[in-house]
Amino acid sequence: MMAAAQTHRLTSGGLVDRSAPLSFRFDGQTFSGFKGDTLASALVANGVKLVGRSFKYHRPRGILTAGSEEPNALVELRSGARREPNTKATTAELYEGLEAASQNRWPSLNFDVMSVNQLFAPIFVAGFYYKTFMWPAKFWEAIYEPAIRRAAGLGRAAVASDPDLYDKAWAHCDVVIAGSGPAGLAAALAAGRSGARVILCEEDFVPGGRLLADGGTIDGLPAAEWLARTLAELASLPDVRIMTRTTLFGVYDGGTYGAIERVNDHLPSPPEHEVRQRLWRIVAKRCVVAAGALERPIVFAGNDTPGVMMASAMRSYIGRYAATPAKRIALFTNNEDGWRTVETALGAGLQVAAVIDARAEISPAHRSLASKSGFPVLHGSVSSVDGGKAGVRTLSVSLTGGSRAEVEADGLAVSGGWNPTVGLTSYHRGRPKWRDDIAAFVPDGAPPGMVAAGAANGAFGLGACLREGFEAGAAAARDAGRSGSAGSMPVADDEAYSLTPLWHVAGKGKAFVDQQHDVTASDIELAQREGFESVEHLKRYTTLGMATDQGKTSNVAGLAIMAAVAGRSIPETGTTIYRPPYVPVAIGAFAGHHRDENFHATRLTPSHHWAAEQGAIFVDTGLWKRAQWYPRAGEKDWLESVTREVKAVRSGVGFCDVSTLGKIDVHGPDAGAFLDRVYINTFSNLAVGKARYGLMLREDGFVYDDGTTSRLAEDHYFLTTTTAKAGLVMQHLEFCRQVLFPELDVQLTSVSDQWAQFSIAGPKTRDLLKEIVDPAEDLSNEGFPFMGVREVSLRGGIKARLFRISFSGEMAFEISVPARHGEALVRNLMIAGAPFGVTPYGTETLGVMRIEKGHVAGPELSGTTTAADLGLGKMMSTKKDFIGRVMAGREALVAANRQVVVGIKPTDRARRLRSGAHIIPKGLTPGPDNDQGYITSVCFSPTLDQWIGLALVERGRERIGEIVHAHDPLRGEDYDVELCNPVFYDPDGGRQRG
């Protein structure tokens, strides 16, 4: 299809590249624009006025602004998985092939069935949902909300996963500057020349701010020339970085700023390997907010009609984009600045129908311009606009003195004055202060290190912007310790502003305050009548300012109307709290690289790749990937594999990678004394070459962690922790060493990653080891007794550590080698064990064997159990002090009715157990009053050929043999279990000592 001609494009001027035409589609129709356009400016250039339907009433809406404050011109950009709802056409850069669709209309933008809502408008007032959909409550989720969501709302999010990449990066500087208008550029010049490291963030794709549309004269040069010269100078400074397409959206503690860079949003899709957006964390010593000001609307009936536009936006479309929003424009202003739009429009050859000026005085210069150009100047206000989806047709004007007039125009520029952008300066709970002379809020202080300059600080004149920006930039550089010369300050004249506040013009018809959320002036009046006088209540009751634009064009007008009806001043009414982000930021940018398999870092054991080759199933254990079981061909489920593994170990030999256990070198002459203080049992008397099981408590007396610790030398212990607590125990021990016991001569190092460690278990463990260990090593019970530890030579020349410890209840050793030999070791274990049917096993089999043996693990070390609860109370030494000793003696921790670890077996041998089921005395009703504990760990025991478990049960050890009730409301199961000795397997321990 041929692209429609750009009927509303000027033949010269502007910052678009007429040699680079771009074709794009809006609602299926093909148009053309130029490089340098936004989607909005290209639509303007094609005479498109209607671009969307409103949130609640489905009213036809056009383009109100030319920036990121836009409430109306929101579109779905792109298609399929890249579809992005609520994208502002005013900031979306045009690219070849751009596809956009209007939102919230059906079946089409021109004929929208739901616009019937307008007929019911009288009932869709503030609080409508709260008042109407109250009853019955259960209807809310099932009926009301889905129906409302279909009728109201904006764009549709993509359903498929986002195919693009996002990432995050850090940047550091002396001075970060938000905004590259005259104030920001002057700040960058001063700071950069002083030798500061500067980052200048500009959300637009070209630096310059209002200079791009409004021009002016700086240092005697036309603005465009000064801008080019300034950018060239900044580019020549080595540590000044200008980041366009980047919005500084928040300020955080310690001088950290958040910024979002739209790296490739201006392309159909990012080039290969490149990201769509990047989230920046900028660490800066100082910040200059030169984010400018936003022109504010005046609220009157029909002010949302397509063709009604902010005066400064109209200047941008004409001046910067050479696109004419109308052929015959009118201006409604309450200040001098609005008149600049008339000058721009006349310069572009447009007709001016009239200027409606609400002020009493109008400058002689403007009067002579009017008479010279032949348009009337009307003293008064626009009270309503007549028009529709085709745009503005006529304006009704209430003239000062009471009479009325009508003006025919196809476009209306509105200027109600300017609001400084006070977001960044207020994000740390700051409240801006009111300035009567400009009738606007300005920053009142700012987070540490931050200062506002120029229009963001209420200084609207070009000369004032340059001056404030330059001074702020120079001061920021000085404060950051840079002493170079800032050079000379750019100079320009200040324009007249002369504003008479006007917020709302009474009239018939809906007058919109918040156009994105369809909040009208009468909604605010209603809220006040109903008692919602606090601005925070007003906001939530009417949803004023709660749309994605965060009320950038509506908040102050809303406050002003509220103040008027309540009979208070605007500063008395106050503002709501400002919160980041300044513009919406995609969740994808916050996630960055951390999605899917990169959601978090992973840790791999030394045998990981070998296990993967064997087809092991892996389980996430914290950050670790651990082999859970090793399925074999023909096995129908995990239980069959695990049962085989357990039987193979108990009858022969198997091994398991236990490198995930935390491992800590404890060095120094006081290492033993140190361990005596952190463990409940004694380690200073442990012989060199011996291991001992240790239990440590938290300061509050509950169990913290357990593990075996070996003494390798007089002044060297090797401590192990559980996998889950490895990092925490290391931190805890470092805290003990540095803070609690600095008098002890002890040094700690994590060696978790230094050693590959495997548990070898089963009656044929020695047979296997004899194959691999130097034959000179005595592995007999006498030569290497239970809990013995020593370094041995392996065949082929390397050394290993052997620990005779058992978690399975079998004859077992743990063997460790330096980690890069870990994969060789696992392969060699397979070779050495082949004659004995060696079987690698995973964490499931590890768990089954520890439950059979009654060893406690994570589910029992839950942070709520004491040593005595676990049956380990006798380990608590009475001859020394240790962490947690005193608090462990508290009444509740030694109460006789505590829930303690006990074994359980179902009375029906065929029943499966599940952990989490509650224990209730037989015959009593399940419930909190009769709850006596719960099942912590369960497994199918191949050895006993039935399900068994461990439980925490009140007075459990005194009740061995009692039948109790297991109540599992989560799975809807109820059954009887017998309380029994938790050691199901080899209670005498003969096998592990044999």
Binding site: H172, V283, A601, H667, D745, P775, R795, N828, A832
Partner: protein
């Protein structure tokens, strides 16, 4: 314990079965590292090189023995061991600050192994072998700093992190020791020690971060 690859050997003894065991060393990045060009075409902006087979020993002063440890270090290495986040290169080793009263000795060639250093520092320091606990990655190229800024919160500006400066920091939530080696021509070289079990994960993250600049990947037995 030395890290040189040990050849397989066959032990034959009467009455004992015969088995052949190879104890080859395998880097944790052995599978993940695929040498060659990756990512965007054109000049590679980033070069990632894994340095293999090094000795790394953590030296920690015993209580009150800091100055004695410093004397021993000076005598052995001819340089002052760093007491701030810095490195001290010598002809055959690099001393890297790793915390208050402690430093790493990074070396090649078996001269500064646990055993050798253990004797030298016996009276004043505790030693812990970390040779297998870390992976060493060298990062250079025109875009090295840009890429590292995605992973590291520290300021990598040449005036802030100068040649020889070190940091005990984190990258992508993973603890690392980072230091700036000697420049290679005009370009800065960053060295990174990461815990071995985290190495493959961080390696993939680094590759993803560097892909847009083009990456050259390799491994080397030489310390830079």
């Amino acid at each position: 314990m030395s890290n040189s690859a040990i050849p397989s050997s066959t032990i034959r003894m009467e009455g004992v079965s015969v088995a052949e065991f190879s104890w080859e060393v395998r880097s944790p990045l052995d599978r993940a590292l695929v040498a060659g060009r990756h990512g965007a075409h054109g000049d590679a902006g980033v070069s990632l090189t894994e340095i293999r087979n090094f000795d790394l020993v953590q030296v920690m002063a015993r209580r009150g023995k800091t100055s004695e440890m410093a004397k021993v270090a000076k005598a052995r290495f001819g340089v002052t061991a760093p007491v701030t986040p810095q490195t001290a290169p010598t002809a055959d080793a690099t001393l890297i600050w790793s915390g208050p009263d402690q430093f790493f000795v990074l070396s090649k060639g078996g001269k500064h192994t646990m055993v050798a250093l253990g004797q030298a520092f016996a009276s004043c320091a505790s030693l812990s072998d970390q040779s297998h606990a870390r992976v060493l990655i060298s990062i250079s190229g025109a875009k090295a700093r840009t890429m590292l800024a995605k992973l590291s919160s520290i300021d990598l500006h040449p005036a802030v992190l100068g040649v020889g400066a070190a940091a005990a920091t984190s990258m992508d939530h993973t603890s690392v020791t980072l230091w700036r080696g000697g420049d290679r021509g005009e370009q800065a070289v960053f060295n990174l020690l990461v815990f071995a079990t985290f190495a493959e994960s961080l390696w993939h993250t680094m590759l993803d971060s560097a892909a847009e600049y083009g990456v050259t990947i390799g491994h080397s037995g030489e310390l830079t």
